[in-house]
């Protein structure tokens, strides 16, 4: 028997079971909280900071994807201030590298774009950083364009936790942080990559893509296999 807790999200009474996160309970109740590092089926890391919510009694904001529910919790998932903060964080993602949507395989199928649209982010004011970063097209089937990577690490987690290959990892720190394959060798030379394509499927942007796709030819937002991740995990008893 799991304990059931009742709580409120944006004033609505909702219920969830012990161990569930605010994000999960919100989702079940049709309350959309943005989030780009969260991916159902792999561990959360609370890193993109789009899902930050207010919890009554705490001066600090909390990541909905990492906060487990408690009895009587009062969550504010939407407010003017949170909207402003989330817009700014989304803007930071655009300003960090080079997102030229018009020439991106993921155009119109991009979760970053969708997030910006949902938040009403219409223009950019923050300083643009845009360093020169690499593209690795050495893999037979796939490529990575670091210009579009937002460091959500979905690829790293799905490769490790679902595929079990752990081809992807991260290197360096701060703005220099990059996802990498096999200790920094070209993807095409990786001896651990099984070419399963899960990383490409879960990447929220056009950073990871299948070779040969035309611009805006991606189909990422409908990922039929995503619900399976959860099932696979549950069957494994994880």
């Amino acid at each position: 028997m799991t304990t059931v807790y009742t709580l409120t999200i944006d004033g609505r009474d909702v219920a969830g079971s012990e161990g569930q996160t605010v994000m999960e309970v919100a989702e079940e109740n049709g309350i959309a909280i943005p989030g780009l590092c969260h991916l159902e089926g792999v561990h959360d890391r609370g890193a993109c900071r789009l899902c930050m919510v207010e919890i009554a009694g705490s001066p600090k904001l909390a990541a909905a994807c990492m906060t487990t529910i408690a009895e009587g919790m009062e969550v504010t998932a939407h407010s003017e201030q949170l909207l402003e903060y989330r817009r700014a964080v989304t803007e930071m993602m655009f300003m960090e590298r080079n997102h030229v949507c018009a020439v991106c395989v993921a155009n119109n199928h991009c979760e970053l774009q969708d997030t910006a649209a949902a938040l009403g982010l219409t223009h950019f004011d923050l300083p643009r950083i845009s360093p020169k970063v690499d593209i690795d097209a050495s893999h037979r089937l796939f490529a990575i364009d670091h210009n579009r990577c937002i460091l959500c690490l979905r690829c790293v987690r799905v490769c490790d936790e679902i595929e079990g290959a752990h081809t992807w990892d991260i290197m360096h720190r701060g703005l220099e942080t990059r996802v990498q394959t096999d200790m920094g060798i070209p993807w095409g030379e990786s001896t651990t990559c099984t070419s399963c394509g899960k990383c490409v499927q879960v990447c929220p942007t056009g950073a990871l893509f299948e070779k040969g796709r035309p611009v805006a030819g991606g189909s990422k937002t409908k990922r039929p296999f995503l619900p399976w991740l959860k099932v696979v995990q549950e069957e494994r008893g994880l």
Binding site: R45, G46, A47, C48, R49, L50, M52, K60, L61, A62, A63, M66, T67, E84, Y85, A88, V89, M92, M93, M95, E96, D125, L126, P127, I129, I150, L151, I170, H172, R173, G174, L175, E176, T177
Partner: protein, 552 residues
């Protein structure tokens, strides 16, 4: 690092005390062999002094290596133990004045007053500084070392130990000032058969060297403090996470651990009781963020040192998911004294909710740069002007930066405010680990804010978006201002973005990174405006190129 070659040698050499005299010495010269003095050849001073004293036929004097004497900028330092006479900048080829002083010491000589730098200090965590040989267990024992642990193991229950620490009012010296007794109680009560104690010796604030000095000058004290904590929280294993940039501290810790193990102060059955506790060292690889407790734990576990959201707190779920007590070096260093002299004694020092003493690293444009320990609640003015000796060249004081990269700048109008956790926060700054950088009118406050922002963006681990991207954007806006190219809209953007980075970042690094901006804006907004509106840097630090006359 410059101290590397000097630091390597003395460890293999014996203290030469015994070579010079037999029986109790009539006079003793203490030579500081902490990193700062060592890097100025203080070990050669020790050797030379011993040789010269022998040549001069002084058979009843001793020359002894000790830890930090405190006036680091004036090193190498030699002190005559009996009289307190202090020699500054002693060169190995010019030790005669010290030899002369050793000759003149007579039994019954009174210690001479040493001036406010020494006399206004209250030494608790640093009580053995400049007195004991950091590598000698015997010396530590002679100075009352391990009395506290003996009392804990023979007379006290773990609850009594925890209550004592709670009653002393001790709060964490690593930054946030969390009540130490409360943390110990949480760990003691947490569910779990295996528990750990970790000493955070990652000290990464620019200009801070309090923890390094403690490790180099009195390493056994940390081991004793950790053992007491382990007994109090029912832990059997401990780690010291020390940054690899502190080779001397690491070497002395290794020596101390080995000798303490051999003498039964660490390991199984400590002091012939059933209490078991052992300590290992883990080296940090130079990331500031690894001082953050969850990142530190990840690093000890062998993973990438990045923070994770709390809760769960390490006290409940820490190292390898076991309840873990993490305290700072200075926190542990205060523990033996509290147990030995009683919680009431410690609680009687201090002000308000900040009890006891705090070690500060005085740096910047102050005459006496070095390490000082003062009672909590002392006014900033007393620390900077009486102990610190005021500003170099008598220039006007402008601000003091406390709290490192998460701290702030406090202007002259608040010099009489007491230094407590609460008052510093009220002033828009932060206690932090104890760095105190004094600035005079040659500092540009926008430039100072930019310096700290540069530090934060460089040290950001890159895990969360607001810190990874936002700290660089804040730096870019500050850079624009210092180049005279910013508009008032950029200033508004800076303030807005600073608030977002503060509220949205995952760990203390990102959350604290905007603080230097907030505090300089609070007290020195006019300087920002001068750069933006008048295209002028009042302190003359920033190179603002004047726009060429525009021809219509």
């Amino acid at each position: 690092m410059s101290e590397m070659p000097a630091a390597g040698r003395p460890l293999r050499r014996r203290v030469i005390t015994e070579e010079v005299h037999e029986g109790p010495a009539r006079a003793t010269a203490y030579v500081c062999e902490a990193a700062s003095c060592l890097s100025a050849q203080s070990h050669d001073v020790t050797v030379r002094l011993g040789e010269r004293a022998a040549e001069a036929g002084l058979t009843d004097v001793a020359v002894k290596r000790v830890g930090c004497i405190g006036l680091c900028a004036a090193g190498p330092l030699v002190e005559i133990a009996e009289t307190g006479q202090l020699f500054e900048r002693v060169r190995p080829d010019d030790v005669e004045p010290v030899v002369g002083a050793l000759k003149r010491v007579k039994p019954g000589d009174a210690r001479r007053p040493q001036g406010p730098f020494f006399e206004k200090q209250v030494r608790v965590a640093t009580e053995n500084f400049g007195r004991v040989d950091p590598e000698s267990l015997d010396d530590y024992l002679a100075a009352g070392g391990y009395e506290a642990l003996r009392r804990v193991l023979s007379e006290m229950t773990s609850t009594e130990v925890r209550d004592g620490i709670t009653g002393s009012g001790l709060r964490g010296r690593g930054g946030a000032g969390y009540p130490t007794g409360l943390k110990w109680t949480t760990v003691a009560k947490a569910q779990g058969a295996q528990k750990y104690v970790i000493c955070n010796a990652d000290e990464g604030d620019p200009g801070a060297f309090m923890d390094r000095s403690v490790l180099e000058s009195d390493p056994y004290r940390i081991l004793e403090g950790m053992a007491i904590a382990a007994f109090a929280v029912h832990a059997t294993e401990g780690y010291i996470y020390c940054r690899a940039e502190y080779p001397l501290a690491v070497a002395r810790l290794r020596t101390a651990i080995r000798l303490a193990q051999r003498a039964g102060y660490l390991g199984a059955g400590i002091m012939d009781t059933s209490f078991t506790f052992d300590v290992q060292i883990r080296l940090g690889a130079g990331a500031f963020v690894c001082g953050e407790e969850t990142a530190l734990i990840a690093s000890v576990e062998g993973r990438r040192g990045t923070p994770r959201p709390r809760p769960p707190y390490p006290a409940v779920q820490g190292l390898w998911d076991c309840p873990t007590l993490i305290n700072n070096v200075e926190t542990f260093a205060s523990v033996p004294a509290i147990v030995r002299r009683g919680p009431g004694w410690y609680a009687a020092i201090g002000a308000g909710k900040s009890r006891g003493t705090k070690v500060f690293a005085l740096a910047g444009r102050v005459v006496n740069t070095g390490l000082v320990e003062v009672p909590m609640g002392m006014a900033l003015r007393e620390i900077i002007f009486d102990i610190g000796g005021g500003i170099i060249d008598g220039r006007p004081f402008k601000a003091v930066q406390t709290g490192g990269p998460s701290g702030g700048c406090i202007p002259a109008e608040h010099l009489d405010k007491p230094v407590t956790y609460e008052s510093l926060i009220e002033l828009g700054s932060f206690m932090g680990s104890g760095g105190m950088i004094v600035m005079d009118d040659t500092s540009c406050m926008v430039d100072v804010a930019k310096y700290f922002q540069d530090f934060c963006r460089d040290e950001s681990c890159g895990k969360c978006t607001p810190c990874r991207v936002g700290t660089t954007q804040l730096w870019m806006l500050l850079d624009l201002i210092t180049r005279g190219e910013a508009t008032l809209a950029d200033l508004a953007q800076l303030e807005r973005l600073a608030g977002i980075v503060q509220r949205m970042s995952l760990c203390g690094l990102g959350q604290g990174a905007p603080n230097p901006i907030f505090s300089t804006l609070r007290y020195f907004r006019d300087e920002y405006l001068a750069h933006i509106v008048e295209k002028r840097c009042p302190a003359g630090v920033c190179a603002i190129s004047q726009p060429a006359e525009v021809m219509a």
